[in-house]
């Protein structure tokens, strides 16, 4: 977001340059460091492997621990509880959130209302079926779905669950709480650590039983794979990280090594595949694209040059509204320029933001794959 916000001095200055002056025992004064949206593009770009985003994140956490955080920070750090509350009273939450009275109130509290607020669903994944697929299936996966799929898009979560079981996996939905990234992004490392410990305990037990942990949300994935063992140093975190896979990475590996035989049917789709920043940060390439290549009739274009600008809770804060919208416009324009009729992205935030700025349907890569696996409609006879 450096290119649109003149107040942010850029990752090099915010990170390693300023770090030389952040000395132990001296109170932090760099409030501007919170402008960083933690898109991690700086780390992906750095040719020397400097963990720039992490340096900035630590500085953000230090600043937050020494200063009073705004209301929005507390709100978003507790995305998990927000989700529980919002989904339990889903009907009312959604109805109220669209009223101008509530919107006005939210703006007063520091939230942005540029984007329509994501709707909650009562029938969360937690409340649905937690086991699917043959018990003795050779491929066992524990699906870490994350808050967005759980509370806002359980329909999509169920599609992914069903896709995995259709392809022959034993799928379980382990007990899980928020991955903790919203807490880290809002300066609360204690909440993040607590969530991390709970998740590692549960996921670790599934790993011990021979399950692989799968994630669809790439931000949850990055948190599990990197932050749990490294930043938060959770005991047992490394074991979980080593057994955590992106759902498409898992599927394409299985297809390529022969454990899964999939018959991809033809589709007629032209999709702009917007790569979430955190997927890039994982460094595993774009596994969903590897599957797309196998789907006949699927025209797709990879777009990985721009951050969508929502960056989790970042764009929902009024103070970041303008920056987020500028970025959304830029990324949206790039999508529209491809002429695609739909956009796809693994990340929930990207989907929300880009749907708004392009007006196109926002699919999950899994939905594109599911389209290809649909049985062909029976031929009509004259």
């Amino acid at each position: 977001m450096f290119k649109v916000n003149p107040d942010f001095p850029g990752p090099k200055q915010a990170g390693p340059d300023a770090q030389r002056f952040r000395l132990d025992g001296e109170r932090s004064v760099d409030e501007w460091v919170k402008l960083c949206s933690q898109c991690k593009r700086c780390e992906v770009a750095c040719p020397y492997g400097v963990n720039v985003a992490e340096i900035i994140l630590r500085a953000q956490l230090t600043y937050s621990s020494e200063h009073l955080s705004p209301f929005t920070a507390h709100l978003f750090a507790n995305t998990h509880y927000l989700g529980k509350l919002g989904s339990t009273a889903a009907y009312f939450t959604n109805a109220l959130a669209s009223t101008s009275l509530v919107k006005g109130a939210l703006r007063l509290l520091g939230l942005s209302t540029t984007l329509p607020l994501p709707e909650y669903r009562f029938l969360t994944l937690n409340r649905g079926r937690k086991r699917k697929g043959r018990f003795r299936a050779p491929m066992k996966v524990a699906f870490f779905h994350g808050c967005y799929l759980n509370y806002n898009r359980p329909d999509l979560g169920r599609k992914i669950r069903d896709l995995l079981s259709y392809l022959g996996c034993r799928v379980v939905m382990p007990r899980q709480t928020c991955c903790g990234l919203p807490a880290l992004g809002n300066g609360d490392v204690d909440i993040a650590a607590r969530f991390a410990r709970e998740n590692v305990k549960e996921l670790g037990s599934w790993v011990d039983k021979g399950y692989k942990v799968l994630y669809a949300c790439t931000s949850c994935g990055l948190t599990l794979a990197h932050d749990y063992p490294e930043l938060l140093g959770v005991p047992g975190g490394r074991k979980v990280a080593e057994n955590t896979y992106n759902v498409h990475e898992f599927l394409s590996n299985a297809i390529e090594d022969g454990s899964l035989a999939v018959d991809f049917g033809p589709v007629d789709m032209h999709v702009a595949y917007h790569i979430p920043c955190h997927l890039r940060a994982l460094g595993i390439g774009y596994p969903a694209a590897r599957i797309f290549e196998k789907i006949p009739g699927l025209k797709f274009r990879i777009l990985d040059d721009d951050c969508c600008g929502l960056s989790g809770s970042y764009g929902f804060k009024k103070k970041n509204e303008k920056t987020s919208a500028l970025l959304g416009q830029i990324a949206g324009d790039a999508i529209l320029a491809t002429g695609a009729r739909a956009l796809a992205s693994d990340c929930g935030a990207c989907k929300m933001q880009l749907a708004h700025f392009t007006g196109l349907p926002a699919l999950d890569p899994a939905e594109v794959i599911i389209e290809s696996l649909r049985p062909a409609p029976a031929k009509k006879h004259a």
């Binding site: 450096f2 290119k3 649109v4 003149p6 850029g10 780390e43 992906v44 770009a45 750095c46 040719p47 020397y48 492997g49 990055l222 599990l224 794979a225 990197h226 063992p229 490294e230 990280a241 080593e242 057994n243 955590t244 896979y245 990475e249 394409s252 590996n253 390529e256 090594d257 022969g258 890039r280 940060a281 994982l282 460094g283 595993i284 390439g285 774009y286 694209a289 590897r290 290549e293 274009r301 990879i302 040059d305 830029i330 324009d333 790039a334 320029a337």
Partner: protein, 398 residues
Amino acid sequence: MSAYEYDVVVVGGGVSGITAALTLAEKGLKVALISKGDPVCCLSTGCVDVMTGEGDPWQKIGELPAGHPYVKAGDDALRDGLVFFLRIMEEQGLPYVGSLTENRPIITPIGTVKHTCLVPVTMAASDLAKSERLHVVSFKGIKDFYPSYLTNGISRSSFSVFDAGISTTLGIASRFEDEGFLGRFISWLQDTENPHDRIAVPAVLGLRDPVKVMERISKAMGRPVFEIPTLPPSIPGLRLFRALKGALQAKGGHLYWGKGVSSIERQGSEIEAVTLATAGRAARVQGRAFILATGSFVSGGLYAGRDAVRETVFGLPVFVPGERREWFHAQFFTPGHAIEKAGIVVDDCFRPAGGKLKNLYVCGSILAESEVMKNQCGHGLAIATGVAAARMCARGLA
């Protein structure tokens, strides 16, 4: 663990690596490109230097020692490579121009003139004649561009300064993508500019379609407009990188970006796979052949310890010109410090000399004797050796 086997795995995402990968992808091979980060070309002028200096670059190549990578690659690789480059850039909407037999001038931010081979179309009008008057436009707060340097060296020239609301090259370039901003800029220019023959701006005319932006301004002002390459962050460099990357992705190349190689799997004289330092679990990339294009010291392909230089991915032996005290001449402005000769020595097939590894090829500025700064041959060398190594690699796979 991925069982996918690529035909070729290219390590290093700079101009030479991407050129090699593109060459192979167009032959229908399955290519992976691994890069620890963004390449050095993002810091460059964006032009393709073959051999700098006025006149015919081929003549200067003729004067190079036999061990120079250009000589090893051969004239065809360079010529074909440059033609290939022009085509790819055209396809990507970032056209370049230039004669292969005569260098052309570009103007630097301090008003000196540099001669290069291929330039982006937005720099085509840099060939200012001595009699022509120039107007330079600068932007408020821009850190590394001081228009008075230019107006000092060019007679009857002038400059004006526009407030873009943001002062970084990347920020201003991003603004130029916006129709409203472009309109405001043009109106301002029309109001303030005095009659001159050409207009120069620092290279910030947008990221995606700079030619369109340049043509809009040029049409509105009724005279040629050209960009002046800036200090990093260099927008033309970034555009070049994105175009090359986009071309490779469009041709089916798989990119693994952001994490470097952490270990090699080798069986005898064949490399089988590399693993990447990805979070959690190392990603493994298998290939039948590998190409090393990690660049020189700036990009980290070579690392100089206190007394020796090492190659940071495969641990290949590195040719070093003497002891540390001989690496650099006492004068900073020496055309070519000795250390520039350091790098990997290759055989005629662009494989590391010594024959220990049969399926590894090397291209780009990591090659010994490149002397990129002395010859000012950066991107030209990258393209020529990228094509040459890719051809050798394809032949080896057949």
